[in-house]
Amino acid sequence: MKRFLVRRAATALAVVVALSALCFALLDLAPGSPAASVLEARSGGRPPSAADVARLEREMGLDDPLPVRYGRWVADAVRGDFGVSYGSGRPVSEIIAETAPWTALLTAVAMVFSVAGAIAVGLAAALTRRAWARRAIETALFALGGMPGFVTALLLLWIFAAWLQVLPSGGLNRPGEPITAGVLIPHLILPALALSFGHHFGTYARLVQTGVGRLRGAPHVANARARGLARRTVTARHLLRPGLVPFAARLGVGVGGLIAGAYATEMIFSWPGVGRQTILAAQKEDYPVLAALVLVAGVVVVAANLLGDLAVAWLDPRVRLSGAAPGSPPGGTPGSPPGGGVPETAATPSGPVSSGKAADALH
């Protein structure tokens, strides 16, 4: 287990370092001049002269070669200093501290919606004997799963804020008012629902449904029933718990998708989190903010994947003992193509579980 941990942690670190270098290089390749953006913002949108742009670029140190700038950035970043925003001059660490908690809250609530909702809906679909009900749920989930996150978000926005006018359309509060739970909760509902519905809710519910559904006729369930156990006990202990394994394995990877989804969701609902800040920084060519925020998101995704892998290792002893990466569990999954394939087929009750990384490509 220790060796497995060390190996996974080392890989994760390498990924983060590679990500930072790639991100820095991409920013450099991107068209545009941050200095021009700054000057243009100051003059109310009027184009700055080439001489002024060149002077400011020198001042910002943008005329140094890329490796020099990257080295300087890494040296500072290691000490926790991500520089200052080109536009506002505020320390980037301050911007991260201000935005990260809101993204954490949004994604956490969305995750809770996803997990609770997916279990409830998935169970309902798996347990119902009415074909029409099952089909209705499946169709709804299919539609939800196929709809891009931003479309779900816009639909929710249109229905609840623009049309019914029962929920606020964005932000944390009415500006200037204290942020209390009573103020925050109504503001949180739409973005959290959008993020949850738009990202993996459908997949999760289907994973629960198939995970549980395939167990329904399993011998151990029949055996439990035959022993005269209460229906509730059978459902919770013999159907739900083992049936949730594929779903749980998928969650770690889902965090990455959730964070990716947070960019669009935060933009649409003016949620002042990391995602919105990243997009605003990209629009303004604010490289220090952009580089740091992309790195932060990268670290979180890598950490979530690592935790997901650990969870699978914990759930499935075969992974732990062999020390192999859980992406390719020993013995493979009967009936599923290598690498996961369609999530439903990965969820065979008897075999170990693919972490479902390939399924992520569906979103």
């Binding site: 913002a41 100051r42 001489a51 169970l123 029962v166 359309s169």
Partner: protein
């Protein structure tokens, strides 16, 4: 199965509870008498330092800061922090007398030293401060006593009174720091009618009325400016009661008009759109062609279609200025186009295009591809010009490309104009000393000695009559040898609650800036 129905029921009930139980739509405190006025705007400044912005462009900065002078409803310069001034030595010496008992928002007194500090800091910051151009002629700022400040100029500069409407900076908060200091830019200390209490970049700025303001405490206790970049989102928030007022796009006017809660304030602006030509291209050498194109566009049609009627036809850069003269008679007149083009030796070819020596009047017309309003103007204007025989190739280009290739453009839909002193938005784009190669904003490299002479006269003379004559000469010279095809001035729309009194019409600035110009007089009825 009963159980499954129960589960479904529970989920549905929970969702319903969430949606209705907590959904108040956020009306708390909106538009109530004595309450906060919350207003949504699209543009957010990077810094609230007035010296780092061009010409009164941000409402928050405008509310927090106050200059020696300010502008009245007619955009004329009137006393601000200075109660009076004298101009001496042929316009090279300005002596301002500060009002008594002035204080900064932090309670410290405002003295002549702050004025000197402000001007020195702006001059030193050079290109970091767009407005440093206005203080180039200032040789020294003297402070004979606490409330007297004297500007000594190297040569007369008529727009100086307008220039000192820029917000005054407090020396005690900025001494020893760079003008671009982020701390000051995020939590500034000013002397305007409203005091900044919170600034959350990307979200909102909260302002509180300032009791020490020289005209007395404003009646509105609080103003919140909320940054909502998306036009549709602003409209939704206005309708949903999340904000009390908002900047509204021309296409949204109809939707706001039916709303019972708000009133629409529609003001003209001095912000115009025009087709600029690159004079390094031989195709534009003959002024008859440029005159003809000025007669070939149907400005009324553009205002009606592209701007949804929210604007007015433009024939020159000073149409909204007190210095406007009737020099440019440009209207849509196909007969005049024909007369001018034939006079210049052109004849229509088989495709209906003007041709001379086997060459048509062919050029690419571009603009920022990201600016949908400009692209729409470009497309309609290009079609109209083509119908009149000009061989236009419409081609919007990304902002980023344009920034690096101003010199390579052939023609471009530009936006200029100021409601304040005429000089600041005509000297840059039209004086030959401001050509692109010299680092100026004359992007088309227009060079007309008559225009140069008139522009210099406009800035050098202190006599109002002479200034008027100079700008009349300028407009006449422009009409004869047009550097642009002027299209339209844009109107700007703001929705405010019906029970808010005070907003008053004034010709506003670039992008409709300046709506809050008299906010100290606003009140709930």
């Amino acid at each position: 199965m009963r159980k499954s129905a129960l589960v479904i029921g529970t989920v549905a009930a929970a969702t319903g509870l969430l949606a209705t139980g907590c959904g108040s739509g956020g009306d708390a405190g909106s538009g109530k008498s004595g309450g906060t006025f919350t207003y949504a705007i699209g543009d957010e400044p990077e810094t609230l330092n007035p010296a780092l912005q061009d010409e009164h462009t941000d409402p928050v900065t405008e509310l927090v800061f106050c200059g020696l002078t300010r502008h009245d409803a007619a955009n004329k310069v009137v006393p601000g922090l200075a109660e009076s001034w004298q101009v001496g030595k042929g316009g090279t010496e300005y002596t301002f007398k500060l009002r008594s008992g002035l204080t900064w928002h932090d309670g410290k007194p405002i003295t002549s030293k702050d004025v000197k500090f402000t001007v020195d800091a702006v001059k030193q910051a050079a290109a970091d401060a767009p407005l440093s151009r206005n203080f180039a002629a200032v040789k020294a700022v003297e402070t004979p006593d606490q409330s007297t400040v004297r500007f000594v100029l190297s040569k007369p500069f008529a727009p100086l009174l307008d220039a000192v409407s820029m917000g005054l900076l407090p020396e005690h908060a900025l001494a020893g720091k760079k003008l671009t200091d982020a701390g000051f830019g995020q939590s500034p200390v000013g002397s305007g009618p409203f005091k900044l209490t919170t600034f959350k970049p990307g979200q909102y700025a909260e302002l509180e009325s300032f009791g020490g303001y020289y005209e007395g405490k404003p009646k509105l206790p609080k103003i919140v400016i909320k940054y909502v970049p998306d036009d549709t989102a602003r409209l939704i928030q206005l309708k949903n009661g999340e904000v009390d007022g908002a900047h509204v796009q021309p296409q949204q006017v109809a939707k706001v008009k039916d709303d019972g809660k708000v009133r629409l304030e529609t003001y003209p602006t001095a912000d115009y759109r025009a087709l600029m030509f690159n004079f390094k291209r031989p195709v534009f050498a003959d002024k008859a062609i440029r005159q003809a194109m000025n007669y070939a566009v149907d400005r009324d049609a553009i205002v009606k279609s592209v701007l949804a009627g929210q604007g007015s036809p433009a024939t020159g850069p000073l149409d909204q200025s007190p210095y406007k003269s009737d020099a440019a008679p440009f209207t849509f007149d196909p007969a005049k186009v024909e007369e001018l083009m034939k006079g210049a030796g052109y004849a229509k070819n088989g495709q209906g295009l003007w041709e001379k020596g086997g060459k048509t009047v062919r050029f690419e017309l571009s603009t920022f591809a990201e600016d949908s309003a400009r692209v729409a103007i470009l497309n309609v204007a290009a079609t109209q010009l083509k119908q009149q025989g000009f061989d236009i190739v419409p081609n919007p280009r990304p902002k980023d490309w344009v920034r690096k290739h101003w010199g390579d453009l052939e023609a471009f839909v530009v936006g200029w104009g100021t409601p304040y002193d005429a000089d600041s938005s005509v000297f840059g784009p039209f004086h030959s000393s401001q050509a692109l190669d010299k680092g100026g904003s004359n992007y088309g490299t227009y060079n007309n000695p008559q225009v140069d002479k008139a522009l210099e006269a406009g800035r050098d003379t202190m006599d109002e009559g002479e200034r008027k004559a100079a700008y009349a000469d300028f407009q006449k010279a422009l009409a004869e040898d047009p550097p642009f095809v002027w299209i339209a001035y844009l109107d700007t729309n703001n929705a405010v609650p019906k029970n808010l009194t005070g907003p008053a019409k004034r010709t506003l600035g670039h992008h409709g800036y300046g709506f809050f110009w008299n906010a100290e007089k606003w009140a709930w009825s």
